[in-house]
Symmetry: C2
Subunit: 437 residues, 2 copies
């Protein structure tokens, strides 16, 4: 078996060819991949059944969570979604070759900033075999080679999908080394050390996995360990919106990274909002932990006492921390101190309060009268996402194709030398903006 470094170096060589593929060549390959998944549905489901057979006893002994088993299981509907997903990615605009800055420096000397692939992307994902398909489609569309390390429980499913996709892509003219499947336990550690050969690591899985990856590599990592999101109900809030958004943000999928963990309520509306909201949340099975001020309002209700630790906790569960604040400033300060820079929402009818909140809250998504759960690549119109980034530098937020490309500066001269632009008789740069042809 080839080592990770060998696979990465072959992928690097293949990535140079991927980088110069035309859009229609990439789209034809994606169409071929979609067709091959459809044509080989039975083989994929049969491989998946082998994984499920190995997994079932583990569920029964409690070694594997039921939810993980459900994510592992493929069926015809999931296969149809996979195929549709690949076709959707094919239909997106090509993110490579976009000119984002164009300027004439001087006569005959033109500078362009042009988007280009990143190179070799290493992806670590857990259980879900559909992740393999989505990630590969996004990487190919963006001209990147991809190293795939799936979960051990999905070995047979991943291998089947990998072989089918690679054969289809290869027949459609993509280099065979543009994708590689890593299967050994030690491959993750090797990949994290492959600086220079691997350009970007994307861990998709638990907070613990992401944190492990972040702490054990010098390669840039795209993703986020924490998703500690807040909803702040301003004193100028429409309380009906506040109620509906809070319930949606907590209840619709509490394990999601974009679910709300802490509700901040302005003192002036806490008395009107909290009693009804807390009742509704309790009816949805939400356990609550409140500060003193909120507990004073809802005496008798089942709101436990919040401690400092609660403001730091991403519950990933039907639990909500609640805090009453005296001002917009206090809300912003709390969010900047405890938030994870993921997604933060304000509920208010006061445009100035939103503008203030937007300018000062330090997060990838800052929402006005909408649920934090909209933070998602598909919902953002990206077709799909490779992850959500809470980093400050590009890319951040849900990351689709655009986050899978970087750029190069292209300078086109006619023999231009710098010496002509220096010294007492220096030529002056024209610095005239030109068309982004």
């Amino acid at each position: 078996m080839t080592s990770v470094i060998e696979a990465a170096e072959k992928a690097k060589a293949a990535s140079a060819r991927l980088a110069r593929l035309a859009s229609d060549e990439k789209n034809r390959a994606l169409a071929a991949i979609a067709g091959a998944i459809e044509a080989n549905a039975e083989a994929i489901l049969s491989a998946n059944r082998r994984d499920l057979e190995r997994a079932r006893p583990l569920v029964e002994t409690g070694e594997m969570a039921e939810a993980l088993y459900r994510r592992l299981k493929l069926d015809e509907a999931k296969l149809r979604d996979m195929v549709a997903g690949v076709c959707q990615v094919a239909a997106l605009d090509d993110p490579v070759g976009e000119v984002t800055y164009a300027i004439e420096l001087d006569e005959g000397l033109r500078l362009y900033r042009v988007s280009c692939p990143i190179g070799v992307v290493g992806v670590i994902f857990e259980s879900r075999p559909d992740a393999l398909v989505q990630i590969t489609a996004l990487c190919f569309k963006s001209g990147n080679a991809v190293l795939l390390k799936g979960g051990r429980e999905a070995t047979a499913s991943n291998r089947a999908l990998f072989e089918i996709i690679r054969a289809a892509a290869s027949d459609a003219g993509l280099p065979a080394d543009a994708m590689a499947l890593l299967e050994r336990r030690e491959d993750v550690a090797e990949m994290l050390k492959a600086e220079g050969a691997v350009d970007l690591i994307i861990p998709r899985g638990s907070n613990a996995l992401v944190r492990f990856v972040q702490e054990n590599t010098n390669i840039p990592v795209l993703g986020h360990a924490d998703g500690l999101c807040h909803v702040y109900v301003d004193r100028a809030a429409d309380l009906e919106k506040a109620r509906a958004i809070t319930i949606d943000a907590k209840v619709s999928y509490p394990a999601a990274c974009n679910a709300v963990e802490t509700l901040l309520v302005h003192r002036e509306v806490a008395g009107d909002l909290l009693p009804g909201l807390i009742k509704a949340l309790a009816e949805s099975g939400v356990a609550m932990r409140g500060d003193q001020a909120s507990r004073a309002i809802v005496t008798g209700e089942n709101v436990a006492e919040a401690t400092e630790a609660d403001w730091h906790t991403e519950y990933c569960d039907l639990i909500l921390a609640i805090k009453v604040v005296g001002s917009l400033d206090e809300a912003i300060a709390h969010i900047n101190a405890y938030g994870s820079r993921h997604t933060e929402a304000i509920i208010t009818e006061d445009a100035a309060a939103f503008e203030r909140f937007f300018a000062e809250v330090d997060a990838a998504g800052v929402y006005w009268n909408a649920s934090t759960r909209f933070a998602d690549g598909f919902r953002y119109g990206f077709g799909a996402e490779v992850g959500i980034s809470t980093a400050k530098l590009h890319p951040r937020g849900p990351v689709g194709l655009e986050g899978l490309v970087t750029y190069k500066y292209k300078l086109v001269g006619a023999g231009h030398t710098v010496a002509d632009y220096t010294g007492p008789k220096a030529r002056q740069f024209t610095h005239r903006r030109i068309a982004k042809e």
Copy 2:
């Protein structure tokens, strides 16, 4: 004296205010800073003389390089340039608040990607006191707070400039904590550990400094340790352009990161190009190290034998490595193997050869018939630069204001909840592109 963490936390608090300053407020502050430097020229020069007096004996004993002493020395011309530089930054477009993506997700639910400041930028710079002025101007214009750690040899100059700039900025309405000067030796190590408080580190100085910083912090670092640039003379090159560009790229400022280190020449033109070029380079004082093929062509000329180490070496001096290659592919492979992803040039009249070179060479700048020495923020039309990045993710290449901002997604709803978009009766997203208002 306050600790770095205290200064960073105060700067963080100030950065929230900087983030919501209007363009004209920032420009007024920059004009005030320019005016204050002009008005206090004598005090600045007098402080600089104290640094020079301390430095002079070190130059005489050889403990300080003459070049370093020259960079340390301020005079009226340098002060005028400083003032002009600040005014130029003020004249640039405001990089904050630019909308780079706008889409309607559904009726009444609109998503915008809006550029915003990064937060607190920590800058480490050596000798040049003018760097303090340029960096501060760029940070303020981009709405960032800045921690400045200058070289010990420029202590008096930096302190004078810092006090003058801070007073002027503060009088013009910027928060006083938006800039801090760090002076203790141990401050660098503390700053590198200030994750969460400092958002970006920019080391400006030697390769050794940059490498030290990169290896000792988890905070994103903007910069580059190496600048190993190539000029490749294609078989379809105009040899006069090749000659002029190679000499410019090597001789005009050999210590610069964008100077050429290795010349690659296609076998078919090596015989015509090399004898004359090598003569001209030798006359400019350039020492050369060639592979066997190039030395065979220039028998008798003073070209030493190159070893594998030469292809890896950034000489920062009047030394050039020369290698004859058999094809465009070989040139690209050499550059991708030995280059530092900084700036790479091809000399050719063949557009297809350039397109291939542009697509496959992995570097922040890929030039066609122009000197590598154009890689510079001012020359690119950015007004100034905080550094040049060889990283793959944004920002890369010369980094001006645009690299000092990141973005937030702004979602504007009217109480929208995610639950309405899921399940069998899910509303469909419209995903209609809208004006970037």
